[in-house]
């Protein structure tokens, strides 16, 4: 059985957004008990990550690390049509993940106790983001 739907998110600018609940909800709707949940973000300046969900400073530190690794306005970047965060947002997306595959067991996403599913917005401005959920199983 295949279940397919689109999830929509509004971000308020650069940062990480916990989307675990919306993913759980889609799995509930699918009725699938055992299988794979595939998430795919349809953008080139936002990505999907699994990250520790207990201490929010982990995600603050990830942001700090990325800012240092791919600095906004770096003179190396020629593509700056949409501002100093334009090309860095694309590079940050390439360095992280467009897609995640997660196991489903007994109708629930089988994550580790400290794992949360996050959408990582890399642009400074707010954006509307689409994530496609495909659940295959029985």
């Amino acid at each position: 059985m295949v279940f397919h739907r689109e999830l929509k998110f509004s971000t308020t600018g650069r940062g990480t957004y916990n989307i675990s609940q919306q993913v759980e909800h889609a799995i509930d709707q699918s009725g699938i008990q055992s299988g794979i949940c595939q998430l795919f973000i349809q953008h080139t300046s936002a990505s999907l990550i699994l990250c520790e969900n207990a201490d929010p400073t982990v995600r603050t530190d990830l942001e700090t690390f990325m800012k240092k690794l791919v600095p906004d306005g770096d003179a190396m970047f020629k593509h700056q049509d949409e501002g100093p965060d334009d090309m860095p947002a694309h590079v940050r997306t390439i360095l992280t993940q467009n897609a995640l595959s997660l196991p489903i067991q007994k109708g629930r996403v089988k994550l580790g106790i400290w794992q949360g599913i996050y959408l990582w917005e890399h642009r400074v401005q707010s954006h509307k983001r689409k994530v496609i959920v495909t659940i295959i199983g029985e």
Binding site: F40, Q42, T44, L69, V70, H79, N98, S101, T134, I136
Partner: protein, 138 residues
């Protein structure tokens, strides 16, 4: 239902090769309406990525960033003389992806309007690259 085929790219010699239309053709051929499409590259130097390279400067900026992150060094020359890859090529490969999974929606790749699927070849050796495509769904 499962459909599987192989894409061969001849004599890639470093850089990005767009394969989006090849993937679209295979999805059309598969007759699968809804599901996932898994790509796997059979190489230890070439990887797969999803990016917006609509404008050539974005491709060049990505290449500059990777070259800066993992620079080629003189120490590499000895490895090359021994017939091995330059270490920077191995490292860039480890930092990227050898497989990708994209959604299949209405018998088309369910990717965003600015997303393109690329083979990213870090090696300058002109070699054939093989990608196994597995489409699962109904």
């Amino acid at each position: 239902m499962v459909f599987q085929d192989t894409i061969k790219l001849f004599q890639t010699d470093g850089g990005a090769y767009e394969i989006t239309s090849l993937i679209s053709e295979l999805i059309a051929e598969s007759d699968i309406k809804t599901g996932t499409c898994h790509l796997f590259v059979h190489s230890s130097v070439a990887s797969l990525l999803i990016a917006d390279f609509a404008d050539d400067s974005m491709k060049n900026d990505t290449a500059s960033f990777l070259a800066d992150l993992v620079p080629s060094t003189d120490e590499n020359s000895e490895r090359i003389n021994q017939g091995m890859n330059e270490f920077s090529v191995d490292m860039r490969y480890a930092l990227s992806q050898n497989s990708l999974t994209i959604p299949v929606s209405n018998n088309h790749p369910g990717i965003g309007i600015w997303q393109g699927i690329y083979l990213w070849d870090s090696s300058q050796n002109q070699t054939e690259r093989k990608i196994t495509v597995t489409i699962t769904g109904e």
